[in-house]
């Protein structure tokens, strides 16, 4: 009797493990098949992994880590996230590169930016980098965090022949640590002030009245606009520090000092900026909305006069086709009295990185150098998806100087590339998220709970220092 049960259970466990493993090998052989019929658009990212796993047999950690990379000599694996943006761009780049390099292709896995970060963090913490792809895209805001904590994840690109001077300096700074380059800049996050000209007209202004101005001027005009049109000049996502960060970067100030120490308490520009923000909320010229969807809605529904954000916001603005011709683009206001203040800043954007798991570094570098760091054709093409270059030569091409109907027939692309060249650098560092978040919490407490500005700034400083002390 007992034996019967045990044998039944044994059989059961065997069935379980077989089903489970069977499923596994099934998935792998699938990918093998896909890889076999090469050229099929989005071929398997793990084409190599099945083979590699079989070859290396035991000791995944010691063995040459090639699992995530592709086994094919002419194929690079990529993790990136938006089919209409960066996935399109890398596939276009591969197409261009393949014209001179027969058989070259990229295998793209669509992975959300948060998930790319989670996977990298998990892989590094587990001590197994073999699952990483050859190339991945990373948000600029996170880049320093990874470069500082896990430099081993990246292939250093300082002296591989990429001319970083052709990119905007502020952009390159995001992926540079201690003078070493870890990333190839991709899309532009230059801040634009995107305004509804029909509202401005009602208030008696033109877009020129908002070009090269200061915040005090802007705040006064905003009141007039509110009075005449009934609409706030800006909307902002409650609790999000984005606007504050843009303003801070525009005057060359950062949340960290050169030596990496926190620069929140005692940062005169930051306090001035927070006061502007709070004042505008009080004036009703800046309305806080609950979340990102509401923010986009305010742009599309005409419940705000302008969007002050990274230039990628244009893609969301242009969704409202009926508003074509009613928008114009200019630069952002600059901070009064700050010595390094400019009308230019940055928000968002991302950079390509070549992972340390890449076995074909030469190929990957050459690919990047011939495309994202050297192809006008690529940048001229991806402009259709709203991806703007930070590679300066791109701005000179004809495509960038085309008038855009939606924005009043202005040659906005060349304008934005030019904005990017004026943007001051921002010191981010490993704790950039922590610091941004602390500032966001402070602003939210001040605006929404009526907390005292000085004590909130002090708390923010302490929070970041606490996190750094761990």
């Amino acid at each position: 009797m007992k034996r019967k049960i045990i044998s039944a259970l044994l059989a059961l466990t065997m069935v379980i493990s077989m089903t489970a493993c069977g499923g596994g090998s099934g998935a792998d052989s699938n990918s093998g098949d896909t890889a076999a019929d090469a050229g099929a658009g989005d071929a398997a990212a793990d084409a190599g992994s099945a083979d590699a796993a079989a070859d290396t047999g035991s000791g995944a950690e010691e063995a040459a880590p090639v699992e995530g990379g592709s086994a094919d000599e002419n194929t690079l694996t990529v993790w990136t996230w938006d089919p209409n943006f960066n996935i399109y761009a890398i596939q276009k780049a591969a197409e261009i590169y393949a014209q001179d390099h027969e058989g070259f292709k990229v295998e793209v896995s669509e992975v959300q930016s948060d998930d790319i970060e989670t996977r990298i963090t998990t892989a590094v913490a587990a001590g197994d980098l073999s699952t990483l792809p050859d190339i991945f895209l990373m948000q600029d805001n996170s880049f320093q965090k990874y470069a500082t904590n896990y430099p081993d994840v990246f292939t250093e690109l300082t002296s591989v022949g990429i001319d970083f001077s052709q990119f905007s300096a502020a952009k390159v700074a995001y992926s540079t640590l201690d003078g070493k380059n870890y990333g190839i800049p991709f899309d532009n996050g230059a801040v634009i002030n995107c305004m509804r000209t029909d509202y401005l007209e009602q208030a008696g202004y033109t877009i020129d009245d908002f070009t090269d101005i200061t915040w005090s001027d802007y705040m006064e005009k905003a009141k007039v606009v509110l009075e005449k049109t009934g609409q706030p000049i800006l909307t902002s996502q409650a609790g999000s520090p984005d606007l504050i960060m843009m303003m801070l970067q525009s005057c060359g100030s950062s949340l960290f000092k050169e030596d990496g120490s926190v620069n929140i308490d005692g940062n005169a520009e930051l306090k001035q900026i927070m006061e502007i923000y709070v004042q505008m909320v009080k004036d009703g010229t800046l309305v806080e909305v609950t979340d990102w969807d509401q923010y986009i809605a305010s742009l599309n529904n005409g419940t705000t006069v302008s969007a002050l954000n990274g230039c990628w916001i244009m893609a969301s603005v242009t969704v409202a086709e009926d508003q074509s011709g009613k928008w114009a683009i200019t630069n952002m206001p600059k901070l009064d009295g700050a010595s390094n203040a400019t009308n230019y800043s940055n928000n968002g954007g991302s950079s390509w990185a070549i992972s340390s798991n890449c076995q074909k570094v030469d190929l990957a570098v050459d690919f990047m150098n011939s495309t994202f760091a050297g192809s006008n054709a690529l940048y001229d093409d991806v402009i259709s998806k709203g991806a703007l270059a930070t590679w300066a030569p791109a701005g000179e091409s004809e495509a960038y100087n085309q008038p855009v109907e939606f924005f009043g027939n202005d040659a906005i692309y060349a304008k934005i590339v030019e904005f990017a060249t004026h943007t001051p650098s921002n010191i981010t560092g490993a704790f950039y998220y922590d610091a941004r978040d602390a500032v966001g919490v402070a602003v939210s407490n001040i605006c929404q709970q009526g907390a005292d500005i000085d004590s909130e700034i002090k708390t923010a400083q302490e929070t970041v220092e606490f996190n750094m002390g761990g």
Partner: protein
């Protein structure tokens, strides 16, 4: 019988509760049939943009593959989980003694630690075993869950002991009693458990995203996440994706609810 007033109150209560509950589904349906810009404007009337949303969805994402993977994964996982957990729950309750009760209490702690904390050790474990990107690595952590074991343990408490005794006298083995007596009698528990396990398996996101890194293993929640990832979100397409992702669980529930909510009185006797 119930008075008219009470009856009215009961129906009113249930109707209001039901309407509140399905409102989001209605919202999804409206959103899935409208253009992104109308969705964001808060339009709450079904539109005519369904076909276009569907076209852009299948152009952007491998919907068929994601549906198939989700179905296959959830199905296999549900069967394995029910098998392993129900027999364990039965074992804990029917043969309970001090030792087993103690083991059970210890087992319970396995569900009490946040997943974020065990994810990295778990990944390390499977990567050492060379099991990254295998279905086994994806499923093993969810096959045996203290929650399901407890569900069957608690449900076994109402399983009449005299049936077991009678079966033993009839010469049935202990395993046969489980399969031939317990299994059919507890259909309602199995149906309820199946609904829950299927739903959890279907919606599982974080672990598969980390352990299954190939394009071939995309599941519905991953597909929905992909729709949310870009600089611009097409809300119509997103909501259609979400809607398609919700329907299977709803169907599973609808098909099973009769078996767990309208009993099978008589099967025991």
């Amino acid at each position: 019988m119930m008075s008219k007033g009470k009856k009215f109150f009961m129906y009113a209560f249930l109707t209001i509760f039901s309407l509140l509950s399905i409102f989001p589904l209605y919202y999804m349906l409206c959103a899935a049939t409208n253009k992104s810009i109308d969705v964001i404007a808060g339009k709450l009337i079904p539109g005519t943009y369904l076909i276009e949303n569907y076209k852009s969805l299948i152009a952007n994402q491998n919907l068929g593959l994601a549906l198939w993977n989700s179905f296959r994964n959830s199905f296999i996982l549900t069967i394995l989980c029910l098998l392993v957990c129900s027999i364990a729950g039965y074992g804990f309750e029917i043969y309970h003694d001090k030792g087993k009760d103690a083991v059970f209490t210890v087992l319970l702690t396995a569900m009490m630690i946040p997943f974020a904390a065990v994810m990295i050790p778990m990944f390390r474990m499977f990567s050492t075993l060379n099991m990254v990107n295998t279905m086994a690595a994806f499923m093993l952590p969810s096959i045996s869950t203290p929650f399901m074991i407890m569900m069957f343990r608690q449900a076994s408490r109402s399983f009449p002991h005299d049936i077991i005794e009678a079966a033993r006298i009839d010469g049935l083995s202990e395993l046969a009693i489980f399969f031939r007596m317990f299994f059919p009698t507890m259909r309602s528990t199995y149906a309820a458990a199946m609904t829950i396990v299927f739903m959890n398996a279907w919606n599982n996101y974080l672990w598969p995203k980390v352990i299954l890194m190939t394009n071939e293993s995309i599941t519905m929640p991953m597909l929905v996440a992909n729709l949310l990832g870009g600089y611009t979100v097409d809300y119509g397409m997103l909501m259609l994706g979400v809607f398609i992702c919700t329907i299977p669980t709803a169907i599973v529930f609808f098909c099973l609810q009769k078996s767990f909510a309208e009993g099978i009185t008589g099967a025991v006797k």
